[in-house]
Amino acid sequence: MEASAQQEEKPVAVEGGLRTGMINATEMQRLIDVLRKEGYQVLGPLLRDGAIVYDEVEAAGDLPAGWMDEQEGGVYHLKRRDDDALFGFAVGPHSWKRYLFPPMRRLWQAERKGKGKFRVIPEEETPQRRAFLGVRACELAAIAIQDRIFMQGPYVDPVYAARRQNTVIVAVNCGHAAATCFCASMDTGPQVRQGFDLALTEIVDAERHVFLVETGTETGAALLAKLEARPATNDDLAEARRIVERTAESMQRSLDTTDVHDLLLGNLDHPRWDEVADRCLACTNCTMVCPTCFCSTVEDLTDLSGKTAERVQLWDSCFSMQYSYIHGGSVRMSGMARYRQWLTHKLASWIDQFGTSGCVGCGRCITWCPVGIDLTEEVRAIRATAPPAPALEDESEY
């Protein structure tokens, strides 16, 4: 329940509760029922329009049993698995950020009161209790990153904070990595380590379809206590860990983060930026699907009579021209400058700003890029051809 940054890595043992337990796959329905009965709207993966997205799940039958995704640069499609795994896929176009930091929300309204005068009506939000079911390790890392951005700076986004405090997280360890995943090299997954209330590992083979359930908080322990669980044995635990290790080993992509901060910021005039800009359509897809991208803009609306006005906040992208507009023209006119902003922010200046990389290795930006631009490739290309000692100091000519 609390922000992940405040959580201990070790699960909290709770009296009367269980630190770990084994449940049958059929218990998923009970978990959903328990959460719903406690007033949580349960959000989880489901099939829609040829993709696995996150939306309200009312029954275990809504989960994409037996489906998996195949992903590559610019490619996403679903395929039947040869089992009935409920979480046998990686990540889709949605991320949980849409529920904590919604794509659009009203900030406030204003109402005219006589000539030239108006009053501001603050927006009241009563946050809905929500349970996120099926949060991957990379996504937990992404949530922890957004927690820092929205809750740990000089100003707190009150809506994000309220939503966050009302969220229960049921994480799931990955038993399958997409070809676009590279969380292992970003040190964010595939093993779930912190920031969850419950963590599941799905074990599905010829004999059984069960979940190892581990608790991360008292809330999680209380939930587990309501399920029909048997104690987990050392063998169960070992098998669960093996599944995740196999996933890590199967990962095809990686990003070498060694000195990536200085590598990118020390090569702001590298020819590769122009080269990638020739391919990039500046469509903004990568920023929309990225679970850590946090940029937003505002829009002012008025009704026809001009009596009321409102201000809404919308997701925005550094790939748009207006993003950097100041009187006289955009700061980043060229696609080169915009792609460079995106990647240097994500992998370098993010570290200066928030003490962490802005990339968790989920691979979404690779899959959903219509032309298949792959940031791991871009970094590799810059690394391969960067001058031996990128020195930031050399940039200034004075």
Partner: protein, 282 residues
């Protein structure tokens, strides 16, 4: 200390309203609004900080506070009309209301400048964010060594705060140099870009502290001249401008490498941003 602090903390994106007590035309495209906050709220700020000003139904823009930091019953802003929001703001009349959030951002180093020669360099509307510094310097003149104001405007008609500049230049303990890009018949002062004033300005580069505000390109050349005279980057301060939608470090728009101009700036010590300052489209 700050008026909207409680408000900003609880609802950082929601403005309070203020009433325009006085509106004053400064030049053909600039005007100063004197704003009184609702419920007689007091307002205090540090020179260099800005507010987000909202015009009903039109939009919200960052505008520096240009008044005297010693006064707290009124908020002053000098705005140049350049587009949609500033245009609508110009149309506001005395008695009209606008939304206001702030103050935000970093401040000019008026304390660090104590005991030093102070060089204030402004181009165009860039004088507005520096006026609070000038009020402070004049009020505490004894704390500073030589004070020099260098100001550049497009034409003599575009010179802001003419009366005040006149008053200050009449003082024996302040030097004011103004220059215009294009002179008119009645102008007897300097003609040319502002950088031409720097080599001749009376300050000791070894101990001077410079505060520079204007278009980025103007600041670029001013910094170069200051460097040439031997003022080091850690004694040069500039105020940066970037697109701003939130002013509280959350919307991302104002990013400048590792910095958010809205919360780490707008005023930066030049060595903090030097490595990026000459990178194009950064």
């Amino acid at each position: 200390m700050f008026m909207t602090n409680g408000q900003v903390a609880a609802r950082p994106m929601t403005p309070v309203v203020g009433r325009i007590r006085r509106r004053r035309r400064e030049t053909q495209d600039t005007f100063t609004l004197e704003i009184e906050l609702e419920k007689k709220r007091r307002f205090s700020f540090a020179p260099g900080q800005f507010n987000m000003l909202y015009v009903f139904g039109v939009g919200e823009v960052p505008i520096s506070i240009s008044g005297d930091p010693a006064e707290s019953d009124v908020v002053r802003h000098t705005t140049r009309e350049v587009g949609v929001v500033t245009g609508a703001m110009r149309g506001l009349k005395e008695g009209d209301y606008l939304g206001i959030r702030g103050p935000f951002g970093s401040a000019w180093p008026v304390e660090e400048a104590e005991g030093r020669d102070v060089v204030v360099i402004a181009g165009g509307i860039g004088l507005a964010p520096l006026r609070p510094v000038l009020y402070h310097l004049m009020d505490h003149r004894e704390r500073y060594n030589r004070v020099t104001i260098l100001y550049g405007a497009r034409t003599p008609e575009d010179i802001l705060y003419k009366q005040e500049l006149g008053r200050w230049s009449a003082r024996l303990d302040v030097e004011v140099f103004a220059t215009v890009d294009r002179a008119t018949r009645t102008w007897h002062g300097n003609v040319g870009v502002i950088t031409t004033l720097i080599p001749r300005a009376p300050f000791d580069p070894k101990n001077a502290l410079a505060m520079v505000c204007g278009p980025e390109i103007m600041m670029h050349f001013c910094v170069r001249e200051l460097h040439r005279r031997g003022v080091t980057s850690d004694r040069i301060f500039v105020s940066m401008e970037r697109n701003m939608q939130c002013a509280i470090g959350l919307c991302g728009h104002c990013q400048y490498g590792p910095h958010f101009v809205c919360k780490d700036g707008p005023v930066f010590r030049f060595d903090q941003i030097e490595e990026f300052f000459s990178v194009r489209e950064f």
